[in-house]
Symmetry: C2
Subunit: 485 residues, 2 copies
């Protein structure tokens, strides 16, 4: 359970990935790299991308150029109906809430917290339960292709540290946030005793992570005020100071639900905070929590002025469409935030306000919800997100949101190999599932390819009907971390 | 490929189903029948429902009462984590469009038809292709628990008849509609030559179905004007007359998209049709197509007055949330149609305007879309559909919509056994999937049950994260028609 255990299980070799690669090159553009080879060194870094390549060319020319011996190279091929795709980035997920996915009844945010969420999170002082649930959520998200997750844990330090340990051992890239909440919005049985206690607990988790992954190469701490109403003003200020001192990332919630927005206005008037106006974003700004390293989940009900402030501070937004629909929060106008404001946006599953741990499901719902924005009040054609765009949000967009835009999210030299091998099903002339021509078939799940579809159409089929059955293998930093049996 | 082939593969026995049964007893109420036995005779009819029952009691008391010999009885048990649920009813699905699921780009209804749909449907004059696709769509929908589907086929008679044959052989209950469309909205290469040709072709399919299933016990013809703009007025009138003569059900589309509504107003003014007003519903009413046997798909943009007319004629509505979101059509206020108007509503996948062949996905999206209605313009809390309500729509509601409300949709004496066995996954203390206590486990797919959830919570988990992996077995009219391997 230390950094060493993530490597050296078997001798690490250089890797060559061969076949079709699909990744985003811009918000509205997926690139299809056919017959391409991507070379990943032992550190998990992409050192070469060769187009118009095949196994023979790899052996005869590229290995020598890289100085790699053939015996020290593992070749992984995408077969018929398969392609390599960047790993998904879940920019907002509450790990302890996973057992509640789908359980929210007719609640909305504030009663949902008290009815479903706080009791479950409080139970994580039981470390055995924490181990059970955290093991499961990591397995589950890896199996859906999530190579990086920005986790909220609970207020409990030992189990939060355990989540960090388990991510490291499992090889999932993660931001780990020990949740800070000291206001009486939260019940007596589940809140920090004081701002000082909250800060001390946060520092304890930061220290733990620095011990297990000193370079923060896979696991990073993230300063996590639950959301403004959960915190007293002194705690918010001290967390702002801590973020400045440590230069660590920050994650919190903003403008998810109208009652919540009203509550923030009531709890934190500018007369108290010294904020420039009475908006939600201005509260975070006044205490030093609205920064270019801040991930704001939801942002459904931002005012125009508030969106300007978020953009000016270069804060990022985690769009959580499954959650926003399920909890009747609203529909975030994501495409406008992206294009009109230039705000970096990614996708969050928001388990368990969101009912699914799958970023692919979040991508699908982002496309569908954007259509509701388009035909809703003030909506326009340009509010609709395309398949290419939601896949950008799930990969490159998410990488930028969690501060890893230069490291993961695409297939470029210098980036790390966080990727998934995606396989689709082939349908034969008899209407039954069959092997791809000349290949061993993988399970196609719900994605049926008849053979006449273009590659962009196949990818659209994956977005709309795919699930974890289509995620055949998953790698993080070059290490194989999930393989579908 | 005649009626006989659906039986007699193996000797048919009486059946006893034992365990937990879940079904709707009202729109907002699921009933949980624990330790119950349901007795199904050789004709597939439920002849007894015994609560507080077990295998011993079945053997010792009930069989004698029914006059069944033990050797002539097959016992099927729901194990830990499993329950019997009524089969799903898909009240609106275009069978030939299945290969296009997920492929719609940024199109909306009218351009989608020309770009994606008409070319594909026209290709079904190739009977080999029809056999491939229809085989697949039946397999796929059965595997998702669809025991009854109201299919639109194409204008081609031989392949439409083949769809009927394949449903009969596969044992899927179906309404089969040969699509009628003679107006120049459709391209030259894909439309009926005249109203008379369209009627003759419709009659040919009706005759074929009467030949293969004379009692229409499993397969029924359905009169299917594609939608008003696809038909000339003479064709609409003749189809109205045919419906009256034959007393057959009718299916068509209504008010899916605002441009379509405007087009209908333009094409069919009251001065032409003699309709009472210029609404879309009034056009169908004027030609005798708005009846209590009519299934209207979509009904997104009905006016208040129009909804009154639909209700007065006792016509039914197929709600297609996946399609309405995907094609940016709008969000139908289903709960108001149900409660304020008393209109019978069911769910339709609307493949391939809808991206999924799964009625469970349609149920999930119905719940989510209803929340968008609730927070949309004029929306209220009462617009939200609960888990229990969307499952009612998927079963009892759908049964009423397709005219089978007395035959299927629940577990009652006198109804036919159209059912699915649903299995969920169990998570052990180590966070891994495990067997249910004392049982062989089935695949849990994405539904993880930790053990502390109530049964209503488990059902909610199924609705929000379930897929075909949770549909373990499927029966229609007592016959096992799908078993997950």
């Amino acid at each position: 359970m230390h950094v060493g255990s993530q490597q050296n299980r078997t001798a690490v070799r250089n890797k060559v990935f061969l076949g079709l690669f699909v990744h985003s090159t811009a918000l509205d553009e997926l690139e299809y790299l056919h017959e391409t080879a991507v070379f990943v060194d032992k550190s998990g870094t992409i050192v070469a991308v060769e187009k118009n390549c095949n196994e023979e060319k790899v052996r005869e020319t590229v290995l020598a150029r890289l100085g790699w011996e053939a015996a020290d190279v593992e070749v992984v091929k995408a077969r018929g109906g398969q392609f390599f795709f960047p790993g998904f980035i879940d920019t907002h997920i509450h790990a302890p809430q996973y057992p509640n996915v789908g359980i929210f009844g007719s609640s909305t945010l504030l009663d949902w917290l008290n009815t479903y969420t706080f009791p479950l999170e409080a139970s994580f002082s039981d470390k055995a339960k924490a181990r059970q649930v955290y093991t499961r959520v990591i397995r589950k998200t890896l199996s859906h292709g999530t190579t990086c997750a920005a986790y909220y844990a609970t207020i409990d330090v030992p189990s939060t540290n355990l989540l960090a340990d388990l991510c490291l051992v499992s090889g999932q890239r993660a931001l780990i946030g020990r949740v800070c909440m000291d206001s009486d919005l939260s019940p007596d049985y589940y809140r920090d005793a004081s701002p000082e206690a909250s800060i001390a607990a946060t520092k304890a988790t930061i220290e733990h992570i620095r011990t297990i992954d000193p370079a923060l190469s896979l696991i990073r701490p993230v300063i996590t005020p639950r959301f403004a109403p959960s915190c007293t003003l002194p705690l918010l200020r001290q967390l702002g100071d801590l973020a400045k001192e440590t230069a660590l990332p920050i994650q919190t919630h903003i403008s998810e639900n109208k009652s919540e927005v009203a509550l923030v206005r009531e709890l934190f008037p500018p007369s108290l905070t010294g904020a420039a106006d009475d908006s939600y974003a201005a509260v975070y700004d006044a205490v030093g929590l609205l920064t270019e390293r801040t991930v704001l989940a939801h942002a459904v009900h931002l005012t125009e002025h508030e969106a300007d402030l978020v953009a000016a501070r270069k804060a990022k937004i985690s769009h959580c469409p499954c959650s926003n629909s399920a909890l009747t929060s609203g529909a975030a106008p994501v495409r406008r935030l992206l294009l009109d404001r230039g705000i970096a946006c990614g996708l969050g599953t928001d388990v368990s306000g969101g009912y699914s741990a799958s970023v692919l499901e979040a991508a699908r719902q982002a496309a569908l919800v954007s259509r509701h924005v388009a035909f809703g009040p003030g909506g326009e054609e340009r509010d609709r997100l395309s398949v290419d765009e939601v896949l950008f949000l799930a990969t490159r967009g998410g990488a930028e949101v969690v501060g890893l835009g230069d490291k993961v999210g695409g297939f470029e030299v210098g980036m790390e190999w966080d990727a998934q091998l995606v396989g689709l099903g082939a349908i034969g002339e008899d209407g039954e599932e069959q092997e791809w021509e000349g290949e061993d078939g993988g399970p196609g799940g719900n994605v049926d390819v008849f053979g006449w579809e273009s590659w962009p159409e196949r990818v659209a089929k994956w977005v709309y009907n795919g699930d974890d059955r289509n995620t055949v293998k998953v790698w993080v930093k070059g290490r194989l971390v999930h393989e579908r049996k």
